[in-house]
């Protein structure tokens, strides 16, 4: 249980932007920019963040659905970061994915049996009857009636379609499953059913999940550890309870306080709510220094110049913030750390000044 099944080191996924008459590359969308984490065997790592922060790209890059720009990924002892796609084929059964939109990720012209059985015919030498048996076994596992094996996806409700997607991911006995917002398209009462199913399967089959979601309360329920992403970077990574009770990064604090409390008594007490101003900057043109400096309520002068390092503040609790970095805490002086120098010449973009907090007007120009 203690061996990391997945190790991600400094993962970078940049998408080029082409422009002009000659379609020259003029820049890159840094969707994932230097992300590192481990996932232990049998563990669920939650990955949360706002839309556009790169969490889905990160999940897909970890499975090498993209050719990554930089970094290394080790899954089950094998480094797959720079392998060409055809060499990855024998690795695919170990790592699977459950997609966000069960409507779009199931082929409407294939029956449920064909959808769930497709990975089996691709990757195994099972006979037709063996495949059929395995498909029915999988349908039992995810709580679908065996009698529906010849039906088409449109005959199912959203929650049932997501079960088909899960059964397909389970078909090859994977060790690691990336769940990319598997519940975002479902109703609350159905969300709980799918989350419970994922947890049961994890207990029964010893699966390891990377659970991507923007729903902080659902992640709190399912994840053992949680990583918070902002603009292509992980800003905080901590065990679940530590993250929710003592968030260290100002972004995590704001994110948690923005979640509406389903209890009017508590909602009324939440007077110290942090409401972030402005929007997430474009990942094609991130601000100099810390990515969060344009919206941070606790921004300091140093934040506009130097990108904070990702440091272990407490055992297992990592955060990338100058507030918790003894080298910079409250000081103006800082040594060069060689981080993000490519951005250093650009003025920090700042929108409306955030509430309270010490804001100094010295932009890094």
């Amino acid at each position: 249980m203690t061996r990391p099944l997945v190790e991600v080191r400094d993962l970078k996924m940049h998408f080029p932007i082409y422009s002009g008459l000659l379609r020259r590359q003029v820049g890159a969308v840094k969707a994932v920019d230097g992300v590192s984490f481990d996932i232990l065997e049998g563990e669920t790592l939650g990955l949360v963040g706002e839309s556009g922060c790169g969490k889905s790209t990160c999940g897909r890059a970890v499975l090498r659905l993209y050719d990554i720009t930089g970094g290394e990924i080790v899954i089950d002892g094998r480094a797959i970061g720079s392998d060409p796609q055809d060499r990855l084929r024998d690795m695919r059964p170990t790592m699977q994915m459950v997609f966000q939109d069960p409507q779009a990720s199931l082929n409407p012209r294939m029956t449920v049996g064909a959808i769930i059985g497709e990975p089996l015919s691709e990757h195994t030498r099972m006979s037709r009857s063996e495949r059929r048996e395995r498909v029915e076994e999988l349908m039992d596992q995810v709580g679908l009636n065996r009698a529906f094996v010849n039906r088409y996806p449109h005959e199912f409700s959203g929650g049932q379609r997501q079960r088909i997607g899960i059964a397909r991911a389970l078909a090859l006995n994977p060790k690691f499953i990336v769940c990319d917002e598997p519940i975002a398209a479902l109703d609350v009462s159905i969300q709980a059913q799918v989350v419970n199913l994922l947890e049961e399967l994890q207990d029964r089959l010893g699966l390891t999940y990377l659970f991507i979601s923007h729903d902080l309360s659902m992640v709190r329920h399912i994840a053992d550890r949680v990583a918070v992403m902002y603009l292509g970077k992980v800003v905080e990574l901590a065990p679940r309870d530590a993250l929710y009770s003592e968030p260290l990064h100002p972004y995590t604090q704001a994110l948690l306080s923005a979640v509406p409390e389903p209890d009017p008594m508590l909602a009324g007490q939440k007077k110290d709510r942090i409401v972030l101003q402005g929007d997430v900057p474009s990942p094609a043109n991130p601000p100099a220094g810390c990515n969060f400096c344009t919206r941070c309520p606790k921004v300091m002068e140093v934040c506009h110049r130097i990108d904070p390092a990702f440091l272990e503040i407490a055992p297992g609790h990592w955060s990338a913030c100058h507030l918790h970095d003894p080298a910079h805490r409250g000081t103006v002086e800082a040594g060069p750390e060689g981080t993000d120098n490519e951005n250093a010449g650009r003025p920090a973009r700042r929108e409306a000044p955030a509430n309270g907090a010490s804001i100094q007007q010295g932009d890094a120009t």
Binding site: A192, R220, P262
Partner: protein, 343 residues
């Protein structure tokens, strides 16, 4: 039928009585809204919660004739806006009401703004149509509105097109359009569902602020119980095209009487407090509304179901002051403690 009046003398600005909406499809009729009654007082924020397909949006769109007909048909009922029945109003009168007396904010700000017109034009259109202002006055009003909803540099952004705004900013433009003519009632159909939590918090703050400044009635449709707990005064819970419970926000969350409301509250995990080992689920699927209801719509998923639920559709009955629920089970009438003991 209980109207949800708490005995106050304030005149209801919107009164909906016995509304039925039916869709005719090739595979038969779908009874999307069945005998819905509710009212809204001036300055009140009424939250409407329910799963998708429970009839929340269809109810609100039926009010001002926004549903395409056919297939939709508002079969019976009364929608009284300050005493005037909108279902009997002429198309010309309805056009005056839409955007004038009733403002509407739709769920998805990208598809509800026209991509080929700049936002200035789209904000000024209802102002000129309903308030009869000239171009310059309308422009001043549009700038004022964009300021009100917190768009920085309002005057400079009137010429921008919707794609030049972010999701949160687009929703602010939608709010500005809905507020343009000082509506008596603002209907917001899942206005924050497509937005991120931090942007949602900004929008909720704006709405709360505007409500205090402008004093209009707001009907807020959502499936997020957290949002409702934060902003609503009174809540309607819808299920299977019917209102199953109606109560002020505190009793609804602390002492829910309908089994569906109870179950719904339990399925929602929280970011604070104790973490349950397993999430509560509501087993089964929402009903298919193929015919007018002849029994309780929740009977197939209800833990407290008994014979009578299969035979009759429970009417809404007052269970506490200002609080009504549509359930036959005795625990709906008594308090929470009894219900938990029997559950």
């Amino acid at each position: 039928m209980p109207q949800g009046d708490t005995g106050s003398e304030a005149q209801n600005v919107l009164d909906v009585r016995d509304l039925h909406t039916v869709f005719r499809t090739r595979s038969g009729e779908v009874h999307a809204v069945n005998s819905v009654n509710f009212s809204v007082k001036p300055g009140e924020l009424l939250g409407v919660v329910g799963e998708s397909g429970s009839g929340k949006s269809v109810t609100m769109m039926s009010l001002i004739g926004l549903l395409p007909s056919p297939p939709a048909e508002v079969r019976s009922g009364e929608v009284l806006l300050d005493g005037e029945d909108l279902l009997k109003a002429s198309p010309a009168r309805l056009r005056d009401v839409r955007g004038g007396e009733i403002g509407f904010i739709f769920q998805d700000p990208m598809t509800s703004l026209n991509p080929v017109f700049d936002v200035g034009f789209q904000i000024m259109e209802p102002i000129r149509r309903h308030m009869g202002l000239n171009k310059r006055q309308a422009r001043d009003r549009a700038i004022e509105l964009l300021d009100l909803v917190g768009i920085p540099g309002a005057a400079g952004r009137l010429g921008d097109y919707p794609h030049q705004f972010s999701g949160g900013m687009r929703q602010r433009v939608m709010i500005a359009i809905a507020l343009a003519c000082d509506p008596k009632v603002l209907i917001a159909d899942e206005p924050t569902t497509a937005l991120d939590v931090t942007i949602q918090a900004q929008i909720l703050e704006i709405i709360e602020d505007l409500r205090q400044k402008l004093g209009m009635a707001i009907v807020w449709i959502t499936h997020d119980l957290g949002v409702v707990a934060g902003i609503a005064d009174r809540v309607l819970v819808m299920y299977g095209g019917q209102i199953v419970e109606q109560a002020p926000v505190h009793p609804l969350f602390n002492d829910p009487r309908h089994p569906y409301t109870r179950a719904l509250l339990k399925t929602v995990p929280s970011v604070s407090g104790a973490r349950a080992a397993k999430l509560q689920v509501i087993a089964g699927q929402p009903p298919i509304l193929g015919a007018a209801p002849s029994a309780c719509p929740f009977r197939d998923r209800c833990p407290l179901v008994f014979d009578r639920c299969h035979q009759q559709n429970p009417p809404r009955e007052i269970v506490a002051p200002g609080h009504d629920a549509a359930c036959f089970h005795p625990s709906a009438r008594t308090g929470r403690e009894v219900a938990e003991a029997s559950a």
